[in-house]
């Protein structure tokens, strides 16, 4: 979904449950509690981050993946940035603060399955750099209830970036 409203909005109970879930998740990532964060994923997670090709508006948006992970490769990525002995990009750790907003939850027709669209703004500060940077984008999450609690089964982060700044993306969005 890129701008258009969800086909059918969820009821308030689902909306609140998803909002609570995304806020909790953001707190875990900002707190670098990656072990707990991995617990929020389904075993068949797909995690994709895209950037945008700048081209004539008549030709429509064109996104391309800069991250495309399954559970296995996402696990490798997270282990690398969570172990101080295995990362230079995240040691000293970058500081992040995530803002999740503009949530729209689709009624996916099943109580154990939600499709959530949210805006994401991540402030990130590296080392002793005097100023921080921002990643901005819109996420589409497919959330599934597993053993009574919501898990992320599919995440697509469409970044509003063309040329990325300051080296490599080394945090989870």
């Amino acid at each position: 979904m890129n701008g258009e409203a969800p086909a059918k909005a969820s009821d308030d109970a689902a909306f609140v449950e998803v909002l609570r879930f995304l806020h909790r998740e953001a707190a875990l990532l900002d707190g670098r509690d990656y072990a707990a964060w991995l617990g929020l994923l389904t075993g068949d997670i797909r995690y994709v981050v895209t950037a945008r090709v700048s081209r004539p508006a008549e030709q429509g948006p064109l996104d391309y993946a800069i991250v495309d992970e399954d559970a296995d490769t996402l696990g490798l990525r997270v282990r690398q940035i969570s172990d101080p002995k295995l990362t230079w990009a995240e040691n000293p750790a970058t500081l992040t603060r995530r803002f999740v907003s503009n949530l729209e939850v689709e009624d996916a027709g099943a109580p154990n399955h939600h499709v959530a669209h949210s805006n994401l703004l991540v402030y990130r500060q590296r080392g002793t750099a005097p100023d921080g940077d921002f990643y901005a984008g819109r996420r589409r999450d497919v959330l599934r209830r597993v053993d009574g609690s919501l898990r992320i089964a599919d995440r697509l982060v469409r970044l509003d970036h063309n040329v990325l700044f300051d080296g490599s993306l080394s945090v989870i969005l």
């Binding site: 950037a51 993946a65 490769t73 490798l76 002995k85 990362t87 990009a89 080296g167």
Partner: protein
Amino acid sequence: MDDVRHTARGESWVDAAAGTVSREAFVSDDVFRLELDRIFHRLWIFLAHDSEIPSPGDYVVRSMGSVPVLVVRGSDGELRVLLNSCRHRGTKLCRGEAGNARHFVCPYHGWSYALDGRLITTSYDGHLPPEMDKADWGLVPVPRLETYRGLVFAAWDPGVPALSDYLGDIAWYLDTLFWRSPQGMEVLAPPHRWRVRANWKIGALNFIGDSQHVRTTHAGPITLDRVRSEKDGFYVTGGDSFQVVTDRGHGCTLTYLAPGMKEENYLTHPPALGAAYAETLGADQLAMLHHLRVFVGNVFPNFSFIESQVALGEKAVIVRQWQPLGGTEMEVLSWVLAEREADDGYKQRALRHGFHNFGAAGVFEQDDLEIWASATQASDNPIAQRYPYSFHSSLPFDRSPCEQGRWPGTTYRPSNTEVAQFAFMRRWQAAMGSPDRA
């Protein structure tokens, strides 16, 4: 140009006898401006792969040093490289990075150009004096444009040698990556692009042959690699490994399986494509590829390539343009390629695995970039610049090449010295010192 030259402090930044290079070369904006004049606005610069613009009207916007250019496929199917700046008052014809056009219309006053750059109309042709010939006012074409194995290169100096002469012996190695199947390679997605506050030469040096950084910089992905472990000798340089230096400062590093490494863990090339390679490559090139684990190199000045099988499955071919933005910043463009003959599933895996390792969020890339930026930052001050960079571990080796005649270029062992890096720096110094040294 002499005024620019004299503002750069060193006449010579590279001390060939001592094995050192002034740090000024890696931070100074004066050096950068001289590089634009002597290197980027003169020599052959890699711009694109022809599979990025397959149809008439397709274009991408790229840079040659500080010069923005359109790489466009004309209605006649021919590639052209044109200055992306209106002949009237300079406006960019294309303000994005890619697209398809029937012609280029300037958004300012409406001058309109054909895909081949010809000026069609100024919108006010009736106001033009008779002595203004529209044929002289087309988009500026780059004087030299050649494609090698799908790789598009252009040069602003009309006097540069033919591209095949410029590439020389490195072409044989490029063939083993970019022409190893009858249909050749294709780009699998638009390039990743990112800026990093590091000098462009650090990227070129890292790719021409910096085996020494792998264990320290990339401790993360190496430790997490489950199949190809340190115990298996994977990260020990195999005895067959070697470095190549060719004329004009090109070079590459070939790292082979070490003895005792379990071959089945190192699917060197997809079996389905093996037959295709035999159709295209010579026996000596096939022998070169056999058991090759990491293949990385640089074409002077700023075109790099790597094929590596690290951490994950498919061997992805990745190419780079290190685009200088100043003494202390560059933009990196990074593409993933595969053989056109490969099936879609293979291409998707190669793409995913390729940028999982090397790209805007690569698990190898992120640690390289952090370190390159810190090297640039810590050298960007006059005190640090009293102390040159060390390339000493080239000196004991660069007078004693090995196996002359077996492989093109000049070859050296072991593969984890700084021979190729220092050859790049000597070539860079020669190009900076004399505008005639194409």
